[in-house]
Symmetry: C2
Subunit: 322 residues, 2 copies
């Protein structure tokens, strides 16, 4: 499908009305921040617009739409934001999968399933949305600023991750000048943990074991831990990076027991090792620094399987150096 | 002592040479970022300058000065950065306590012990230093940019805390445009935990207890945990906020066993309770949202003492509402 410029995307929206805004399933701060920023901007232009999501929107994002009324209409234009591929709309929005008029996104993995405003070097789709809103001459009020900020802050891990750019900070500065209070947003996004998340985290931390003189740390998330903590899938976000946060750990491994008893292994590495190569030895794959594979057996057996491949990888590294 | 403007501070530095730059004891990213940014800027002007600190500089900050040579001279001008009061220079620098020619700072608690460039609304002293360097026409190279960024990022908790301003983000954007890679800095500052810190954290998490239907969480840091984890004082930073990060917890309590067997209690509250008022009941004090007190007894007795006062505080709150 064709690529469009920011100006062209703005023109398409200017000509549209009754705009249905689609977010991706398991919504995050970027897709929701984009959606409500666009929705508020379009409403301010006198258009009808509403946001839909295949999944329930987690309570912590309610400040994004606290004051908004439901807007009923037959969709005349369909906009997808931060949605890299049509199936990611989720089952609840599958009826729109072939009918998206415009997609505003930043994912490298975008499949170009619609007319696309795709800016891959942007840290958040909210940065793209911000430029479209400026092009539309929308006044950035506090609600829009909070939504844009939310998208940028969540996709950059509060400006910590390597995807953060000067532009991310520059837009955050502009959003703060509008008058928003960013700490309450960041507290909701990054500080507060559900009780179940807190419980699963402490059980997982207790399970950490060190191997190879401490350069490898292994953490378990078992079915028993999930039951004990009452943790849901959404409570497990951000657990796999933990082993690699321990000083001296070059290979962080998380072993997650699936409902069928198999183990999903996540491997995170520093510059010293190739996670994708380690997981490839067990039929998995991924990126240089983050990869995964699946194995069967008891916890001990699963751990031994990945340790054996890490040992082999270390051996190969050593041989290739000499 | 007199207040000076940014232009006046720059003029003082322009006229000075053999500049000794003092940081505060237990150095953090802001005092070190300020010091090495200033030092590099002054060196680039053809002056002699060096940084001194009463305490050893933690290894994680070594990127700030990795390439710098020791510069020997008899001090002709003494500059303190991010040092709110002369005693905070520490015992190793006490000989300079009465001889500081210029202090560049942002602390509300600054005691004006020297000619002062004090900008209290700035999130980091590094933001003040940045303005002084611009006034001095110093070219902001990557090393200076990394130092300024470090100061801002550490003092704002990576742009998360309530002290973050639009200016903090705007300067971060400028530093990134110089070409620095911020993720490695933030990983060092915010992600990597010493093994001892990791151990003390997991022991502390295991100890968490809930009271009053989960609106209060209590966490312990005992002498035994300190021994077992081999944690140092510097490993305990950032533990006391943990109980208040659990969803639904309005009063987070940390009970820390001191070497003499007494318990140092830290209380963190949300908007619902006054931490200072709770701790005041046990002879302590502090701020509305973060306060402390000290009690004696066993762990159980110490916990019961603070719970009793929390119950009394809840009772008083209830009565004052009706
Ligand atoms: Mn995104
Ligand atoms: Mn500071």
């Amino acid at each position: 499908m064709r690529e469009v410029t920011t100006a062209q995307a703005a023109q398409m929206l200017r000509e549209a009305d009754d705009i249905l805004i689609l977010t991706h399933q398991y919504p995050d701060g970027d897709t929701l921040g984009c959606a409500f920023a666009m929705c508020r901007g379009l409403l301010s232009m006198g258009k009808r617009a509403r946001v839909v999501c295949s999944d329930p929107i987690p309570q912590k994002y309610s400040y994004l739409y606290h004051d908004m009324k439901e807007c009923a209409f037959e969709p005349g234009f369909i906009l997808a934001v931060d949605v890299a591929d049509a199936p990611l709309l989720g089952s609840g929005l599958s009826e729109y999968a072939d009918r998206v008029d415009l997609c505003i996104d930043h994912h490298h993995s975008n499949t170009k399933y619609a007319a696309n405003l795709l800016l891959k070097e942007y840290a958040a789709a909210a940065e793209v949305v911000f430029e479209v809103l400026l092009e539309l001459d929308v006044t950035i009020d506090e609600d829009i600023a909070a939504a844009i900020y939310t998208g940028i802050s969540t996709d950059t891990g509060c400006f910590k991750y390597a995807n953060t750019t000067a532009q991310s900070h520059a837009i955050a500065a502009q959003m703060m000048r509008v008058g928003i209070d960013t700490y309450p947003i960041n507290r909701l996004m990054f500080e507060i943990k559900s009780r179940a998340r807190f419980e699963i985290e402490r059980l997982a931390l207790e399970s950490v074991e060190y191997y190879f003189d401490g350069i490898c740390a292994v953490m378990y998330i078992t079915k028993q831990m999930l039951q004990k903590s009452k943790a849901l899938e959404s409570d497990l976000d951000g657990l796999t990076p933990i082993p690699r946060q321990i000083d001296g750990v070059q290979i962080g491994v998380t072993l997650r027991e699936k409902s069928d008893g198999a183990w999903k292994i996540s491997v995170r590495t520093g510059v010293e090792f190739n996670a994708s190569s380690i997981c490839g030895r067990l039929g998995g794959g991924g990126h240089m620094r983050a990869a995964g594979c699946t194995v069967t057996g008891t916890a001990r057996e699963a751990c031994d399987k990945i340790l054996k491949e890490i040992a082999a990888e270390r051996e190969d590294e050593r041989n290739s150096v000499h």
